[in-house]
């Protein structure tokens, strides 16, 4: 058999944990090979071993049948192995070109030949249809574009084997489509790919084979056409997983959140929300669907008091909360699961307990006359941990040491525990495995059933369709339409998100 990569019986330990335990993975030339497993199963670790960032304790690696020692990323590069990391390895302040050529700069008389470099980047970008602007600064481009830069980095170094570590977690559906197209082009050009993803649909769609790992151990390697999502989920979690959250008919009551004619500017001063109106009632989940950058973030920030509303009114339970400070908004009864959990959701150097009282630390019973009651704090943390199944050594553990999924569960636990009337959930399941997604979805529906209003923002159409009682489609800062999930299709949503109104949809279908 022609394997380009063989990782045989790999074992990798971290202090106190075996991340990879006798895992074998073989990659055929020209295939897309999926690597599947729960959060923390050891996928990234295995790939970091292949890329030379970690040294395995046991096992061997063969490239094109020859045994190799990949002692550092340089060796991996020389062997034609490239990796698109789960957390992008990009330098915000650098340009696209600078990020790509770093470490392998074309020079002229000892100086970087930036013209030539840009030329090369443009060429590769064109060849694979990546459409990247070589001069743009990383901090100015979208996440999807950043990912293409990561891909370009591997291609620039002439990689034949490309590892994608959860590339789709941070992408919008459109970007995912494009990425899949890119991967297919790469295969056509003779490259081989290892793809890590939690989205079983994607595996079914693009992959040839799949290797499933669980708790650091290899479970199975299957041909994708011989399997199905249910089986894969079972293999990876060890039990059956329900993909569509069961929920009964909703019974919406009075309006909890009312927004009238809201205008908000983005950080550059350009109007991002333009005259938006919205109502979220008690006992319903309103999903906001839309392509990234259509004003979703600004809308949420305006509600939560993080950004100033230029005009318009935001009411909570009939009370005007427009432009109140975040604390007042929180106190009025708004809970918020932010999109970027590391940046906005958690203080990574605080313990779980401390993070659980990030908004309530100044109130009884957590603090009394300004003095903290740590007993209460950790009591609360303990109850959230057990109720929300946060996997952690203890409530005194620093949040930094938790996996992403468990960090997310902790945030959700904290927000629900505060018992807000309105819960805003932005991309609540990004990067999580199917088991964790199932859990979180259940909790959101539970909130609805307890008579809370839930505002869900997500790029996952599945998630939106699954959970929402109503779907508001946002386009260029306003709602283009509000639809009933039972009476719509992904195609229709897609068109709306692209700005085609219902009537136009009709027109289009006439054409």
């Amino acid at each position: 058999m022609d394997y380009v990569i063989e990782m045989l019986h790999i074992r990798k330990e971290f202090p106190g944990i075996v991340a990879n335990d006798d895992i074998t993975l073989q990659l055929k030339k020209g295939e897309i090979h999926a690597l599947l497993g729960e959060n923390g199963a050891g996928k990234s670790t295995l790939m970091n071993v292949l890329f030379g960032l970690y040294q395995p304790e046991k096992g061997e690696i063969r490239v094109n049948g020859k045994k190799v020692e990949i002692t550092d990323p340089n060796v991996a590069n020389d062997l034609g192995i490239g990796m698109v990391h789960q957390h992008f390895m990009l330098i915000d302040k650098f340009s696209v070109t600078e990020n790509i050529i770093l470490g392998k700069e074309p020079r002229k008389k000892g100086v970087i030949d930036i013209k030539k470099a840009e030329q090369q980047v443009r060429e590769i970008s064109d060849r694979y249809g990546l459409k990247v602007d070589p001069r743009a600064k990383i901090s100015d481009i979208s996440v999807g574009m950043q990912q293409r830069v990561e891909i370009l980095k591997t291609l620039y170094r002439g990689a034949d084997i490309i590892i994608f570590d959860e590339p789709t977690a941070v992408l919008t559906p459109q970007e995912i489509r494009e990425l899949i197209g890119i991967m297919k082009t790469l295969i056509k050009e003779g490259k081989s790919i290892i793809l890590i993803t939690h989205k079983l649909k994607e595996i079914m769609e693009v992959c040839d084979r799949v290797t499933v790992i669980r708790k650091g151990k290899g479970i199975a390697t299957l041909n994708v056409k011989d399997t199905n999502p249910q089986e894969l989920a079972h293999l990876m979690v060890g039990r059956d997983v329900i993909f569509t959250t069961e929920k009964t008919e909703g019974h919406p009551k009075q309006a909890v959140l009312e927004i009238e004619n809201l205008h908000v500017k983005d950080s550059r001063g350009v109007e991002a929300v333009k005259g938006l109106n919205l109502q979220v009632r008690a006992g319903e989940i309103v999903g906001i669907a839309g392509v990234d950058g259509n004003g979703q973030s600004e809308l949420i920030e305006a509600i939560t008091g993080l950004k100033k509303a230029e005009s318009g009114v935001i009411r909570l339970n009939g009370k005007d909360i427009t432009n109140l400070r975040p604390r007042k908004v929180t106190e009025a009864g708004v809970g918020h699961i932010p999109e970027d959990r590391h940046k906005y959701g958690l203080v990574l150097d605080f313990t779980i307990g401390e993070n659980m009282v990030l908004q309530t630390y100044y109130k009884m019973p957590v603090s009394n006359k300004g003095i903290l009651n740590y007993k209460e704090i950790y009591k609360k943390a303990k109850s959230i941990i057990s109720e929300f199944d946060v996997r952690t050594p203890s409530e005194y553990t620093k949040v930094r040491a938790l996996s992403g999924g468990n960090q997310q569960k902790a945030i959700i636990g904290r927000e629900i525990d505060r018992d807000p009337d309105l819960l805003i959930a932005a991309q609540p399941t990004r990067g999580l495995d199917v088991g964790a997604i199932e859990f979180i979805h259940k909790r959101l529906v539970e909130q609805r059933d307890h008579g809370k209003a839930v505002l869900l923002v997500s790029f996952e159409l599945d998630e939106i369709m699954n959970l929402s009682d109503r779907i508001a489609v946002i386009y260029e800062g306003a709602f283009i339409d509000i639809v009933d999930p039972k009476k719509t299709t992904e195609q229709e949503l897609g068109l709306l998100m692209a700005g085609h109104r219902k009537e136009k949809v009709g027109e289009q279908s006439n054409v």
């Binding site: 939560t304 993080l306 400070r325 975040p326 604390r327 007042k328 908004v329 929180t330 106190e331 918020h336 932010p338 940046k343 906005y344 959701g345 958690l346 203080v347 990574l348 150097d349 605080f350 401390e354 009282v357 990030l358 908004q359 630390y361 100044y362 603090s367 300004g370 003095i371 903290l372």
Partner: protein, 322 residues
């Protein structure tokens, strides 16, 4: 020391004797440690809340002047006068911290530069005040009234005339206060949170700008109190200073050596006091030049700071043993 041809054993004995050998020296060590405790707390407090306060020196100077000013200007019962003078020092230091805090919170100006500049402003302005306001063109101010003094006949007696004064109680109290604020209060929680992650703190409803200002104000107040120790305790007056006292700068090392914790600062400050006082004794007792003391201090700091080095050496030794 060995390398340079001095007897290290004698040197260290002299150092030890000069710091702890007699009650007098114990008193002196603690007296010197007193302002170090405050400066260390000031810097540690700022560090814990994500700020680098190089301005403890200036805050200490203005605190000193303010305390002496109150000590001279009023004639009040001790129960009022002393607390008033101490509060004045805290307020002056707080003001000196407020300015960089405000500039950082509102205009995002880096606190390191502003505090460095504020040090010079403090030095020159206080010299001006001493000559033109607190005295009639003299180099020192008059002595503070007895009612504002921290001097302690009791300590002088038991330590054989050392200059140890009642400020040490305040310093110990300050250690407890810092520990309490940082570890036990909602305020400390908020300040630490902002220091670690301002974005998340803002999302959680905290007022980031206010926290930054408050941190600098509290930090400055600690340093200002350090000035009161000198003005009301050690000297009892203020004098023209042609250059910085260095306490504020040494405070950086004290804070960091103490791991930026209250108790750590206390220990590091006493260590510093002991090294500095003890070193004065090295030339006369052992013929070792006290230039060596800075080297000794540096090596101690490096050694303590490189905790990882010790771990590294230990694992190396273990490996070799295998």
């Amino acid at each position: 020391m060995l390398v340079s041809g001095y007897n290290p054993v004698n040197g260290y004995i002299a150092l030890w004797n000069g710091a702890f050998g007699q009650v007098f020296y114990i008193g002196e060590t603690l007296r010197l440690a007193t302002p170090y405790i405050f400066a260390g707390l000031a810097i540690a407090f700022a560090f814990r809340t994500g700020l680098f306060n190089i301005g403890a020196e200036g805050q200490l100077i203005v605190g000193w002047i303010a305390a002496v000013w109150v000590g001279i200007a009023f004639d009040l019962p001790k129960a009022i006068h002393l607390p008033l003078a101490i509060l004045a020092a805290a307020a002056a230091g707080a003001l000196w911290g407020f300015i960089p805090g405000l500039l950082k919170a509102r205009l995002r100006v880096h606190e390191v530069i502003v505090t460095i500049m504020m040090n010079y402003i403090a030095l020159y302005s206080s010299n001006y005040l001493i000559r033109n306001v607190l005295s009639k063109q003299q180099d020192t101010t008059p002595h503070i009234h007895h009612s504002a003094s921290l001097a302690s006949p009791f300590f002088q007696k038991i330590t054989d005339y050392s200059t140890l004064h009642n400020g040490i109680y305040l310093a110990l109290l300050a250690v407890v206060v810092m520990w309490f604020i940082i570890e036990k209060t909602a305020l400390g929680f908020e300040l630490k949170s902002v220091g670690f992650n301002p974005n998340a703190s803002e999302y959680a409803g905290m007022n980031v700008g206010r926290s930054i200002i408050l941190s600098m104000v509290i930090s400055g107040a600690f340093a200002g109190l350090g000035g009161a120790m000198e003005g009301l305790g050690n000297y009892g007056f203020a004098f023209l200073q042609s250059s910085f006292s260095g306490i504020g700068f040494d405070g950086i090392a004290v804070a960091l050596l103490g791991g930026n914790t209250a108790l750590g600062v206390l220990i590091a400050a006493v260590l510093f006091g002991a090294l500095k006082v003890g070193s004065l004794n090295m030339p006369i007792d052992a013929g070792v030049p006290n230039e060596l003391v800075n080297i000794v201090i540096a090596l101690i700091i490096l050694f303590v700071a490189s905790g990882y080095m010790i771990k590294w050496i230990l694992t190396r030794l273990k490996k070799e043993a295998k």
